[in-house]
Amino acid sequence: MTEELIIAGFGGQGVLSMGKILAYSAMMQDQEVSWMPSYGPEMRGGTANVTVILSDERISSPILNTFDTAIILNQQSMDKFEKSVKPGGLLLYDGNGITRHPEREDINIYRVDATDEAARIGMAKIFNMIVLGAYLKIKDNVKLENVVLGLKKSLPNRYHHMIPDNEKAIHRGLEIVRQIQTVN
């Protein structure tokens, strides 16, 4: 099985590190992974996105135009990537700051209001883990225990004291994700 996804939002939202944790988690369950960031000046304060591929086979192209899953965290990314989701695929988004909600009728749409939730529980820094939790609820391709292992691997030692908070945030995401539309 192969899962091709893109995570897109603002620089500073933890888009790249969320992708990295996901990739590491899949590695923990012996999958092949690739993590391909957009890089360069657009990273600085602008939009940031990362393509992550998790697969049971050797990965061919790490560069994709269409995705099984798009995790969208701002309006610009919605405008850019809603159309790139494969029919029957998944679009997961944070409603914060979204003025035009997804319109496709041939894809599964889920919403997680992670920005609001992070602010409410005072954990703005691990907003991205709430989003990750939402993703894990919808897709069962990565096991939660492997995500914890992935967190340990991808976070430098000096941040390991934050792992319990990260786990808590993942669980919040599992709880608050909402289904908007399903097609299969």
Binding site: A23, S34, W35, G40, P62, I63
Partner: protein, 358 residues
């Protein structure tokens, strides 16, 4: 033993491989698409791990000449840069080829010419495989197409560099340098002792004992006849490399009617195109040159028996396609498809090109 796996960027993998293979020195200068090599090495404190020297030079020119000095003294040295910086290094590379010094040079190619773009490119193919600087010389050129190969080819690069006393270039690109994939790490090798260096490199300037004449590292020979003989010697070496060191990978070529030839990131995309084309009933195969010099000419010639056409997919305006045409010598049509300016081809475009041309 349990495999040691790590998720790494291509650039970081080169740094880790340099430490683990027991390299003695890295000398580099920051430039986008490859600065992570120097950053990674600095953060890893290789002087504590193995005693390896890592230095940020004042320029790419200084960096390659530091590599020259280190290599001339028998040490395993590596440098890295991206296209504009590699242009600056050409002076030192030519001198190293002339003085027959081993080293590894990583080029994480970006789109050009000039300052160009920081997005990935493959437009430095000619520069890498045809010499690059002044004079008749060749670099052994390896084209990694995954993060694992960035790691493995750094190690292989040193092996070939010392085997042939010749600079080895890793021709990578911004995509492979920046992306992260799973890497299986090898065990830490001990750095060679001075005694081992003296034994392995009797030509090196390690300090003259009473027992031998002084060693000289130079690319200068003012007498034409002697210079000609030195050139012939280099050419014999390159011929040997062409006979013994060709490396390539074939994917679904057994029954292929159309052959894609691509290296590096283009080859990864082409691999996807092969899969998708076959789903559409087109029998496509991929030949991925791993060594760009020596170029897999014989294998490509052999494939003319079988295929109706070949498509060279590159992130440039058509460079490797010339070498393919030379190899094929008119036997089958050879076309080129390239994206420029930091853009990458898509698998859909590749299939469309095959439909269009053949």
């Amino acid at each position: 033993m349990k495999k040691e796996l790590r998720l790494m960027k291509g650039n970081e993998a080169v740094g880790e491989a340099a430490i683990r293979v027991g390299a003695d020195g890295y000398f580099g200068y920051p430039i986008t698409t490859q600065s992570e090599v120097l950053e990674y090495l600095m953060s890893e404190k290789p002087h504590e791990r193995t005693g390896m020297v890592v230095l940020q030079a004042e320029s790419e020119v200084a960096a390659i000449n530091m590599v020259y000095g280190a290599a001339g003294a028998g040490k395993m040295a590596i440098t890295s840069s991206s296209s504009p910086g590699i242009s600056l290094k050409q002076e030192g590379i030519s001198y190293m080829a002339g003085a027959e010094l081993p080293c590894v040079i990583l080029n994480v190619v970006r789109g050009g010419p000039g300052l160009g773009t920081i997005q990935p490119g493959q437009a430095d193919y000619f520069q890498a495989v045809k010499g690059g600087g002044h004079g008749d010389y060749k670099l052994i050129t390896l084209a990694p197409s995954s993060v694992q190969e960035m790691y493995d080819f750094t190690i292989l690069g040193f092996e070939l560099a010392f085997k042939y006393r010749n600079p080895v270039m890793l021709l990578s690109d911004g995509a492979i340098g920046q992306m992260m994939e799973k890497v299986e790490l090898t065990e830490q090798k001990e750095r060679r002792t001075t005694e081992e260096i003296v034994k392995q490199c009797p030509w090196a300037t390690t300090g003259k004992p009473k027992s031998r004449d002084h060693n000289i590292i130079t690319s200068l020979e003012l007498q034409s006849d002697k210079q000609e003989e030195l050139n012939h010697k280099l050419q014999r070496k390159y011929k040997q490399v062409e006979e013994d060191e060709v490396r390539y990978e074939t994917i679904q070529c057994e029954d292929a009617e159309y052959l894609i030839i691509a290296f590096g990131t283009s080859a990864r995309i082409a691999q996807k195109a092969v899969k998708e084309a076959r789903e559409q009933g087109i029998k496509m195969g991929l030949l991925r040159p791993i060594t760009l010099f020596p170029f897999p000419k014989k294998k490509i010639m052999e494939m003319t028996q079988q295929v109706k056409g070949m498509l060279s997919v590159e992130m440039n305006a058509g460079q490797m396609v010339e070498d393919i045409r030379l190899a094929v010598n008119g036997k089958v049509p050879v076309e080129h498809f390239g994206r420029l300016g930091g853009n990458m081809p898509s698998s859909e475009e590749i299939i469309e090109q095959v439909r269009k041309h053949f």
